[in-house]
Subunit: 352 residues, 2 copies
DNA sequence: CCGTTCGCCGGGAGCGCTCTCAGGCTCCCG
DNA sequence: CGGGAGCCTGAGAGCGCTCCCGGCGAACGG
């Protein structure tokens, strides 16, 4: 690929469309038409304008463009997570990555908004209301999250990652679009797998029950174990430490358990540590299943974790696609895209 | 905190400064002055304008503002990393987080640009040239990275995370500003610590030597072990798998080694696994030191890793500060801020 | 050969804001 | 009481772009 000699913009000011037009000997309107695709402009003029653009190193001024079109070509990604998880979970990176891929493929920019504490929501609202972005993607809503109210108030098209607490599970709408993994189905599969292995006292370490993913996984567990002993269920917080604590509690209450289904891999590793400390063999004495198939966690655990995989990056891309599609047609009419639930898959490794 | 009744913007169009001015009975100019701080406007008019803003739910149009001020209030964060690392390393999250904190504290937005392959650099250049952002922060440059050429060409103020390959080590400039940890000093401390423990055959698993952080850590190792046996040095790639491979090679060449200094924690965990597989006790037979004090890696390793901590988040914040300061005063004159090298600290755990 | 249609181009308005500049007012000092 | 200094304010230009609309020429049908 030959290096294009890009003209340096030393003269302080960048060339405007006006300059391009003049150089090409056409009007500003025609130059604009060419820059935006060139439909309805005769070929030789298109050529001339393109040359002028090249020679001057013209790049459109996005602010001017946004001012008149009322589109920014940017999308906000809002991530609200307590410190701990964001650090430890590679989730974050993978989601961002999936979104980034999809957005750049559509020439759309990614503006990242991290929410540290509740006070930040004012800032977020101002930002969204300001028209800096055309739409928003948001993750991991908790039941009392103020975000939905905000996006509705400012009329910002938004797609959520993970089913929000107040949204119906069925593909239905409820005025909100989301992409979620089939948490309940995945949980069912995990538990059935444990049953298939001959396990009978199957415990569950749930996630924080103010998150729908945790609730759905618990529901999946109960779907299969209709008459599960409540003592076999402990609530964790999706961290390894929380998983360890929950495991300790479970062992105390039910020393006879022979399997554990943890609502995520991190908690499973915590559980693993406790089991090992107590001298219980995995999977010999206790079989263990996680959820997520988290990079660097599930596979490198000792023993490697059987777990339920969800396609994080694919889900993230899907979110972006949904949003972009809405923005494309919306342009006025408020079409809410349908939500999508993506399948999960059991990955069998040595822990069961 | 009483909920402010935010007026919904149903009438399609948002109120303009004009509308605010009219409602407040002042000129657009005065309204603008109030919105931008209100200096030089008499108190009662300030009050009136503020009220009008409240009542109408006015939010300035950033595009219009940018068009005239030529400032966007946004900064690009450019991250170029091969797949593997970005997924596995919590680095990414922590850097982003530090930057985000600093930027939002200065009312500046964060536009994320992820580089997947070299073809993306064209896109990046166009974007930066487009004037979407006022400055850029970039990470992990490799020696042949095209980014510096781009930022220079489009005249984009940029601060690098980690010393770029062509930049001098000394606090000096070379026309480029960066923030880096004291990799060399940290490495020296790690190796001296191993010596203090009575170790004599100290190996080093280096990072990829096209990254300055890897080179600097290797240099630090050599600073202390002036006459180190070249056979004691292996090159990894900063991943666990690479660390394992390097460790295997080292054991083959030098079965008598009694300590390993790995250039990051991930490689240290890989090494750990290999050592365990070979039946070598850590730290009994071989002492092990990592680098980074990576979340979820160093502390939760078995045994927990002695490692060199660097303050990722602090460094990231520093980068943002440096850039913002440049942007503040620059506004025309091209002041390049001085680079900063931040200290590291040895964290002693059970692996030595 | 003329009228009409259609395709293509240019003029010009206007998006919402900032900022310069001139003018008006007040206030103080002589 | 007059005049100058200083402080506020408003008018207006203009940032760079898109897009409507009017006009002009070519083409085509009658």
């Amino acid at each position: 690929m030959p290096e294009q000699p890009v003209p340096e913009q030393l003269p302080g000011h960048r060339p405007t469309l006006e300059a391009v037009a003049e150089r090409a000997g056409v009007s500003r309107a025609t130059a604009s038409r060419v820059v935006n695709g060139g439909d309805g402009v005769r070929a030789h003029l298109v050529e001339k304008v393109r040359e002028a653009v090249q020679e001057l190193g013209y790049v459109p001024n996005p602010a001017a463009r946004t001012l008149v079109t009322r589109r920014t070509g940017a999308v906000a990604v809002i991530i609200a997570e307590p410190e701990i998880r964001i650090f430890s979970d590679p989730f974050f990176s993978r989601q961002i990555r999936g979104i980034s891929k999809e957005l750049t493929a559509h020439d759309t920019q990614l503006v990242l908004l991290l929410v540290e504490d509740r006070g930040d929501y004012d800032r977020i609202e101002r930002y969204l209301a300001g028209g800096h972005v055309d739409g928003a993607l948001a993750f991991s809503l908790h039941t009392d999250d103020p975000l939905p109210a905000i996006t509705r108030r400012v009329g910002m098209p938004t797609v959520y990652g993970g089913r929000p607490g107040w949204a119906p599970v069925s593909g239905g709408h409820g005025g909100v679009a989301y992409v979620d993994a089939d948490n309940r189905g995945g949980a069912r599969e995990a538990v059935r797998h444990l049953l298939d292995q001959g396990r009978r006292r199957i415990a569950h370490i749930a996630g924080p029950l103010d998150q729908t993913s945790a609730v759905d996984r618990l529901d999946g567990y109960r779907d299969v174990l209709l008459d599960a002993d409540p003592a076999l269920i402990a609530e964790g917080d999706f961290t390894a430490a929380g998983g360890a604590e929950a495991m300790a509690g479970l062992l105390e209450r039910c020393p006879d358990l022979d399997a554990v289904f943890a609502a995520n891999d991190l908690m499973a590793t915590g559980a693993l540590r406790v089991l090992r400390e107590r001298g219980l063999a995995v999977p010999g004495d206790v079989a263990l299943v996680g959820f997520d198939d988290a990079e660097l966690v599930a596979e490198s655990a000792d023993p490697p974790l059987t777990t339920v995989r969800q396609d994080i990056e694919g889900m993230a891309r899907l979110m972006a696609q949904l949003l972009l599609r809405t923005l494309d047609k919306a342009q006025g009419d408020r079409a809410v895209p349908a939500s999508v639930v993506t399948p999960t898959a059991l990955v069998r490794r040595a822990s069961t």
